[in-house]
């Protein structure tokens, strides 16, 4: 006599497909996140989905081992066959355990910070991995057997205890995911399709769980003899719908304003929650990689569909932020400033960054063959009284030849300013004075300073950035940051298009009353990210491409 194991297993899969496939939408949602949004955070989901939910499911499997047979009226057909109960239960147990382990591993992988966390844990060459696996199997087995053992009146109690647990898992998962989906996009996410898809999945899953839970509760309250009798539509649908609406309102309340990609910050800095104060970012001009910096002198590369990769971490124990990142026009070299030192990092070769000098504000020539950085010495002018003395800066600019590596002083002059940029095509340097003037220093005719008309003067500038645009003709986009006059710690940001040949500027756009810690502009598309505490909002300069033409 052959034992029909394949058909019996197939029968189990068919009959319990709803139970077994229950985590599938969660997995799909996580997989989409993992692939499209470089999702690697939320480590607390690992114990939840690899232990908590499967534990609950294992008890439920045990509890309902014969309920589905009963519900589908196949119980008697199976039990009068010459099969021992032990064998039937073993089949149910084995397939349940296999499915639970499969989901646990999948969740582990999807929620983990690396792609191979579990395999790594299991191949460490020690007993730890196997002990973990054995522990999980033991937990599931005990849960299943406990569920199987609990029959009769105790079953009512168990279901009543499990119901809020399942409801809790579902609501917790749904709530956190919905919040996550609403708050997080990839930096260059332009489509709402994927986030909407994820939200719909989260709603569908949690809705069905809540619906089932309420049906079970109602069934228990009514002491229905069989689950075949379904409660009325209103009492089935209304409570979960109300709960979902409540959850949605809660999430919407949390999700204002819409935030983007805060997980990148969290991932980058190894924090459970994004909590860093500033973030410098620069888009690579040749591809869609974004170099970002943050506390402890770290730089990471973020790109669509991949986990942000730490590119550089300082060996020093000092804590600080890399304030400027500058990509070479060819997109292979990244110049940055760390603690008053300028480094060059070749991102295509895994080498340590090269120190090129002490200074600030590295900026590239148009061709990328040279790098310029400033080094300032301050001194005070002589004056009759101390109150009338003026603090001046003597700026020395160093020229770095990328081919030869020779670093030499390039030019020097006295000026008070910051945010220098090098316009080598027109032999000029641009900067913004503290009084709010945009100044061009032409180098051909000696040093002459030309304030550019068109910028509102008289308002103190707190920050400025120059972004080079090479198409369709070389230009700069200048962002000027002013302190907002009404709200403390809020800024007004003005975007200008600077024609370096005509020395003329054209207002592009402005934002008022922003409470932000960083702004990262993509100079080719006019898209900019407003960042606050690691969360980003994506905006667009209106009619950007038309203006560039």
């Amino acid at each position: 006599m052959k034992f029909p194991r394949p058909l019996l297993l197939k029968k189990e899969l068919h009959q319990n497909s709803l139970f077994y496939l229950f985590p599938l939408p969660f997995v799909l949602a996580l997989a989409v996140l993992k692939i499209t949004c470089a999702f690697a955070g939320l480590p607390w989901l690992i114990p939840l989905f690899s232990v908590g939910v499967p534990f609950t499911l294992a008890v439920a499997y045990g509890l309902q081992a014969f309920d589905i047979e009963e519900d589908q009226q196949t119980r008697d057909f199976l039990l009068v066959k010459p099969l021992s109960i032990l064998r039937i239960v073993t089949e149910k147990y084995l397939i349940g355990l296999t499915i639970l382990l499969f989901w646990a591993v999948t969740f582990w992988w999807l929620c983990g910070s690396s792609y191979f966390e579990l395999p790594q844990a299991l191949s460490v060459g020690s007993w730890a991995g196997w002990l973990i696996l054995a522990g999980i199997i033991l937990t599931y087995s005990c849960s299943f057997l406990a569920g199987l053992w609990i029959q009769g009146p105790k079953k009512l109690l168990a279901v009543l205890l499990l119901t809020p647990l399942m409801l809790g898992w579902a609501f917790l998962a749904w709530s956190s995911w919905a919040t996550f989906f609403l708050h997080n996009f990839t930096l260059q996410q332009t489509s709402w399709v994927i986030p909407l898809f994820l939200i719909v999945i989260a709603f569908a899953v949690s809705g069905s769980i809540i619906l089932l839970t309420f049906q079970t509760v109602i069934w228990l309250l009514q002491q229905r003899p069989s689950l075949r009798e379904t409660p009325g539509l209103t009492c089935s649908i209304l409570p979960p719908v109300l709960l979902l609406l409540l959850g949605l309102l809660l999430n919407l309340a949390l999700a204002v304003p819409l935030r983007i990609s805060n997980f990148i910050g969290a991932e980058l800095f190894g924090l459970e929650k994004p909590a860093f104060w500033t973030l410098e970012g620069a888009w690579n001009p040749r591809n869609n990689l974004l170099a970002v910096s943050g506390p402890n002198y770290r730089i990471a590369l973020a790109s669509l569909g991949k986990t942000p990769k730490v590119l550089y971490q300082s060996d020093t124990e000092k804590k600080g932020i890399i304030p400027v990142l500058a990509w070479s026009p060819r997109g292979d070299l990244l110049a940055f400033e760390e603690d008053g030192k300028i480094y060059l990092l070749n991102t295509r070769e895994k080498q340590k960054p090269v120190w090129v000098g002490n200074g600030t504000n590295p900026c590239w020539s148009q061709t990328g063959e040279a790098l310029l950085f400033a080094s300032a010495e301050s001194y005070t002018t002589e004056a009759p009284t101390k109150e009338h003395s003026i603090l001046l800066f003597h700026q020395v600019f160093y020229h770095v030849d990328i081919k030869t590596g020779i670093v030499r002083p390039y030019l020097e002059f006295d000026a008070v300013g910051n945010h220098w940029t090098w316009d080598d095509a027109n032999d000029a340097i641009w900067y913004v004075s503290p009084a709010g003037e945009l100044v061009r220093v032409t180098l051909k005719e000696g040093f002459s300073f030309h304030p550019v008309p068109g910028v509102p003067s008289g308002r103190p500038i707190i920050y400025a950035r120059f972004y080079r645009v090479n198409h369709p003709s070389p230009k700069f986009i200048v962002t000027l940051y002013y302190l907002n006059q009404n709200k403390r710690q809020h800024v007004d940001v003005y975007f200008y298009l600077l024609d370096p040949v005509k020395a003329m500027i054209k207002p592009l756009h402005h934002e008022s009353g922003l409470n932000l810690t960083t702004l990262i502009l993509h100079p080719q598309t006019g898209t900019y990210l407003l960042g606050r505490n690691g969360a980003f909002t994506k905006r667009q300069i209106p009619k950007f491409r038309e203006v560039l033409q």
């Binding site: 006599m1 052959k2 034992f3 029909p4 058909l7 019996l8 029968k11 068919h14 009959q15 589908q72 009226q73 196949t74 119980r75 008697d76 057909f77 199976l78 039990l79 009068v80 066959k81 010459p82 099969l83 021992s84």
Partner: protein, 294 residues
């Protein structure tokens, strides 16, 4: 009696406080077609499920093919075929799959019988079970129950919901099988026609107890039908009033009852105009209309 296929004595089954079987005594000899007759809710399904060991009994003794069904394992179940009212076939399986599923579980399997029966009933092997009609499902369930050539076939209201043609077909299969194999068949029903068509023995279950049991003719002969010219007053408990009109009354009473002359004597000018064995329907009515002797 030893050698009986099914023996149960003082079998009781309670669901919580509800007493469904209140002490059933039943012996089913081999080679009989035994009908369990009862009203809806009489406890027929509970009795059958207890006999099969699908549910535990509350008290009493049960013995099927020499074993206690609640304790017995696969060896006993190999010898029993069972068709329930709902059949319980897996709807997603194809006929060929469910045949394979069952065939692999039994040491004996009459493949020739299965093939010829499928052909006879026009059941294609690649048909999905959920697409079958009620009648086709019942036929398939019966084929699956008979294919392992069980010693005992138990059917729980198998013809419920079938049209007359399907019922007739089903009964024919059972009859032919019984004639061919001499197999013991125990089936529950509330349809008297089924019983009179094929049953050799009958047990009437009412209110959790067997009210009458034995060979069909003996059970039928256990009740007398009396027609009188007038209406009788002050009937003793063992006499049932079946029908009364201006011309007189029809009464049922145990055939062995000796009290009849005294009753008619006490009712003046009432005369017996007919005294005959009762029909099966009348026997059933006698026992199920207040016939609980408890």
């Amino acid at each position: 009696m030893s050698g009986d296929m099914i023996q149960c004595s003082n079998l009781k089954k309670n669901y919580g406080h509800k007493k469904v079987l209140k002490g059933v005594d039943l012996n089913i000899p081999p080679g009989t077609i035994y009908a369990l007759l009862g009203t809806n809710g009489a406890g027929k399904t509970t009795l059958i499920r207890t006999l099969l060991g699908l549910i535990p009994r509350s008290s009493g003794n049960v013995n099927i093919l020499g074993s206690d069904p609640w304790q017995a394992g696969p060896n006993l179940r190999q010898r029993i075929g069972y068709v329930s009212e709902e059949q319980g076939l897996y709807g997603w399986m194809k006929i060929a799959q469910i045949i394979k599923f069952c065939r692999d579980l039994y040491p004996k399997w009459n493949s020739g019988f299965v093939a010829s029966s499928l052909q006879r009933f026009g059941l294609a092997e690649n048909t999905r079970i959920r697409t079958l009609s009620k009648g086709q499902k019942v036929r398939l369930a019966l084929i699956l129950a008979l294919a392992p050539e069980p010693d005992l076939l138990i059917l729980d209201e198998p013809m419920s919901g079938l049209d007359p043609l399907a019922q007739r077909d089903f009964l024919k299969i059972l009859q032919q099988d019984a004639e061919r194999t001499g197999r013991t068949i125990f089936f529950s029903t509330h349809d008297l026609h089924d019983v009179e068509t094929i049953a050799t023995h009958v047990a009437i279950l009412f209110n959790g107890r067997i009210q009458a049991t034995g060979a069909l003719d003996a059970v039928r002969a256990s009740i007398r039908r009396i027609r009188t010219t007038g209406q009788l007053k002050n009937l003793p408990p063992q006499v049932r009033e079946l029908e009364v009109n201006k011309d007189g009354g029809v009464y049922l009473l145990p055939a062995a009852d000796q009290a009849w002359p005294e009753i008619t004597g006490a009712n003046g000018d009432c005369q017996v105009v007919e005294d005959s064995p009762a029909l099966l329907e009348e026997v059933f009515l006698y026992y199920c209309a207040g016939g609980d002797k408890a």
